[in-house]
């Protein structure tokens, strides 16, 4: 029997109700059209000033926090590439102990880590898994621009199949070097950590305010939480910076990026890409707008479309868990 989970949080109803206060301000040097900067600006608007943040190594460390020009109004600290989860645990544990022992005022202080797909999805996934097993109040946001964007765009475990990166250049012998299917990080973390109450995927700008409300929910539900954001990257994906928001929306509508929340074991589709729901546009409509897929041939589009159709039409929990069902026959 399903029960509808409830979260006590202040819902942001529309873009005009987004908090005006900026806690991530000038001083950074992110690229024009950087969606991750919007992701960053958004989470701290919602979290507010009683927050401590760690930023794992990645483009959003290097581009954001140049010495003597920090854009952060809240306390912020660098952490190592694979230390997203452990940095949040360390801060949350320290603050909890100090509050309990009466060494600092007992108040709610949000603890947030911001890691990229290379840091969170590959190197740091063990530490994030451990963080989600803990009972500390913390939020880990994985900003996924599908590459190691700081080191000149290398493929990670989350790069879309077929994409050109500096580690996966199309060649005469191997037209497709990126042959790994995108790692399902949010789904894996949701199904693997039973006591973690909130895992979500989001996009900073689509649907509007959805991401901000997901951050609100994650910070208010209690315990460790995780949000995976899809962040189009003009430099890495090779498109004009003005299309960042559009590409996020197209990625979601194509069904490549499933948008959902898992709250207390319940899946809520934010954008229901099932045929019975809102449906989906052809993946080609998303892929052909990016230079990184210029070398793809029809057979590759067909393969990607087949994989996407399968995840929505054949999985027991579409878009979330790659289980097609229970075999009746023994093998």
């Amino acid at each position: 029997m399903s029960t509808v989970p409830t979260i006590d949080y202040e819902k942001i109803k529309g873009v005009h109700k987004v908090p005006l206060e900026e806690l991530y301000t000038s001083g950074h040097r992110t690229c024009q059209g950087c969606e991750s900067a919007t992701t960053m600006r958004g989470f701290i608007k919602v979290a507010g000033p009683r927050t401590v943040v760690t930023g794992s190594t990645g483009c959003m460390y290097v581009a954001n926090t140049s010495y003597l020009t920090t854009p952060w109004i809240v306390p912020w600290m660098h952490t190592q590439l694979g230390a997203g989860g452990s940095s949040a645990v360390g801060m949350a544990a320290g603050l909890r102990a100090l509050k309990r022992k009466g060494k600092i005022k007992d108040e709610k202080i949000n603890v947030i880590n911001f890691s990229g797909d290379l840091g969170a999805g590959d190197m740091g996934i063990g530490g994030i898994s451990a963080a989600l097993q803990s009972d500390y109040d913390l939020l880990i946001i994985m900003y996924d621009n599908e590459s190691a964007a700081n080191t000149d765009i290398q493929a990670t475990g989350l790069t879309t199949y077929g994409a050109q990166t500096t580690f996966t250049p199309p060649g005469t012998k191997h037209p497709i070097m990126q042959r790994r299917w995108k790692k399902n990080v949010a789904g894996m973390l949701a199904v693997g950590h039973r006591t973690c109450r909130y895992v979500a995927t989001a996009c900073a700008t689509y649907p509007p305010t959805d991401y901000l409300n997901k951050v609100q929910k994650a910070l208010n539900i209690g315990g460790p939480t995780f949000i995976h954001t899809y962040d189009p990257c003009p430099k890495g994906w090779d498109y004009h910076p003005r299309f960042s928001h559009d590409l996020g929306e197209l990625g979601i509508k194509s069904g490549l990026y499933p948008l959902y929340e898992v709250v207390d074991g319940q899946v809520i589709y934010t954008y229901d890409a099932r045929k019975s729901g809102k449906g989906r546009i052809p993946v080609k409509d998303f892929l052909t707008k990016q230079g990184r897929f210029d070398h793809l041939k029809e057979e590759h589009f067909t393969y990607i479309q087949k994989m996407v159709d399968e995840q929505w039409d054949e999985w027991e929990i579409p878009g979330v868990a790659p289980i097609k069902g229970i075999l009746k026959a023994r093998i």
């Binding site: 009683r50 926090t65 989860g85 360390g90 320290g94 100090l98």
Partner: protein, 413 residues
């Protein structure tokens, strides 16, 4: 000063609350309890693990209040400790051998972030092949990174150096991570009677941790470790360098304050201790538990009229250059015992020997130096081995030639 000492001595009846049979690991656990540590991160590897076993039991039984986190790897363990320390919580971690190396990235940034948690290292040989026994290369791997690094030789010292270690590391003039090393098995797992200080005495000695203007808290919105590149790295390295220099003075202060509370436990120059060296012509110098067979050998050789002594080096970082130079240049020959290796190094010897030769270079009167590689991988260094090392060092005192001055002790050839 004399007044303070006299006063301390008069209260000494209550500075220790009980005497207990503890091994090195258990003694460290009590040190951590008495330091009122806020956050502990644990991950298992022999031989240091028993520290964490003992701490979890103290917490389970309500004898100690701290956050106890079971990490998923040493890298996470050390990062948890680092970040707990950054929000002004006193934090504790530890490891051994390859575990220590697995978390090396985190150990380096803890030092460059100038955070002062304490880590215990139960020294263990590095893989491959797997071996549980002691070697010092694990802890020594952080020697150039801006760490405080000291070795203890008894469980009593181990307990006390948790308090002394935090006192030095957290000092505003220092703020460096503290590595408290002890020989695997020979100290981690050998039991001694330990006088356990009272919480009041520990509190009297060890002030509260205060990272002050560098603590990460909403009331103090700072950015820590932003990207810096070629603009400022040299200046920051220089700050680390200066802190390591200043630490030498703070170490002395800390031991004096410790003595004020607990009685004359340690004597100057604190960084090392000399045994029967007053009229000695030849000494051995070593790190860790090799002190036990060496001191016994000294007593036996003294009975035969030989003028030998032993120097136990406690502090390796910062290196007590001036004091050790002054000490060692009194002797005709010095035998350096290395429980570590430095393959391909200038003299094909051990790490400690190279440090000591460098330290003695400016001395007006330099003793002859010989080097012993011994006890690697936990092999026993016996009293007979120590006597053999004294023999070789005494011969070196008589001749000028430096031929074959590195000897592997106890090696099957």
């Amino acid at each position: 000063m004399s007044v303070a000492v006299a006063k301390a001595k008069s209260d000494q009846s209550d500075v220790y609350e009980r005497e207990e049979l503890l091994n090195g690991c258990q003694a460290v656990a009590h040190g951590v309890r008495l330091a009122d540590v806020d956050v502990i991160a644990a991950y298992p590897i022999r031989p240091y693990t028993e520290v964490m076993d003992a701490l979890s039991k103290l917490i389970a039984d309500g004898q100690f209040d701290a956050e106890y986190i079971i990490a998923d790897s040493e890298h996470s363990q050390f990062e948890i400790v680092k970040h707990a320390s950054s929000v002004n919580a006193r934090a504790f971690g530890g490891s051994s051998g390859t575990g220590w190396m697995y978390g090396m990235e985190a150990l380096v940034v803890t030092a460059t972030d100038r955070l002062p948690p304490l880590f215990v290292v139960g020294n263990r040989a590095l893989d491959d092949p797997g071996a549980f026994g002691v070697e010092h290369n694990d802890a020594m791997a952080v020697r150039d990174m801006g760490w405080l690094l000291c070795w203890v030789t008894t469980p009593q010292e181990a307990l006390e150096h948790v308090l002394i270690g935090y006192r030095i590391a957290e000092d505003k003039r220092v703020r460096m991570p503290m590595g408290l090393a002890m020989d695997g098995a020979f100290l981690t797992h050998s039991q001694h009677m330990v006088k356990v200080p009272s919480p009041e005495a520990a509190k009297k000695f060890l002030p509260q941790y205060d990272l002050a203007e560098r603590r990460l808290h909403p009331d103090n919105p700072i950015s820590v470790a932003p990207q810096i590149n070629e603009d400022w790295v040299m200046e920051l390295r220089r700050q680390n360098w200066e802190a390591a220099k200043r630490a030498r003075g703070v170490i002395k202060e800390a031991y004096k304050e410790f003595n004020d509370v607990f009685g004359e436990r340690y004597s100057a120059p604190y960084y090392f201790e000399e045994f029967m060296t007053d009229d000695a012509e030849v000494v051995l110098i070593g790190i860790g538990t090799v002190a036990a067979p060496a001191r016994t050998a000294v007593r036996r050789l003294r009975e035969k009229g030989q003028k030998v002594g032993y120097v136990n080096l406690r502090w390796f970082r910062p290196f007590p250059t001036v004091e050790l130079r002054e000490c060692l240049s009194r002797f005709k020959a010095v035998g350096v015992v290395d429980r570590d290796f430095a393959h391909g190094s200038p003299d094909n010897g051990g790490i400690l020997m190279h440090e000591i030769r460098s330290c003695l270079y400016p001395a007006k009167q330099r003793p002859a130096i010989v080097n012993f590689m011994g006890g690697l991988g936990g092999r026993d260094l016996s009293i007979a081995d120590a006597q053999k090392m004294y023999d070789i060092t005494q011969q070196a005192a008589k001749k000028d030639s430096m031929d074959g001055f590195v000897t592997w002790i106890g090696l099957r050839e």
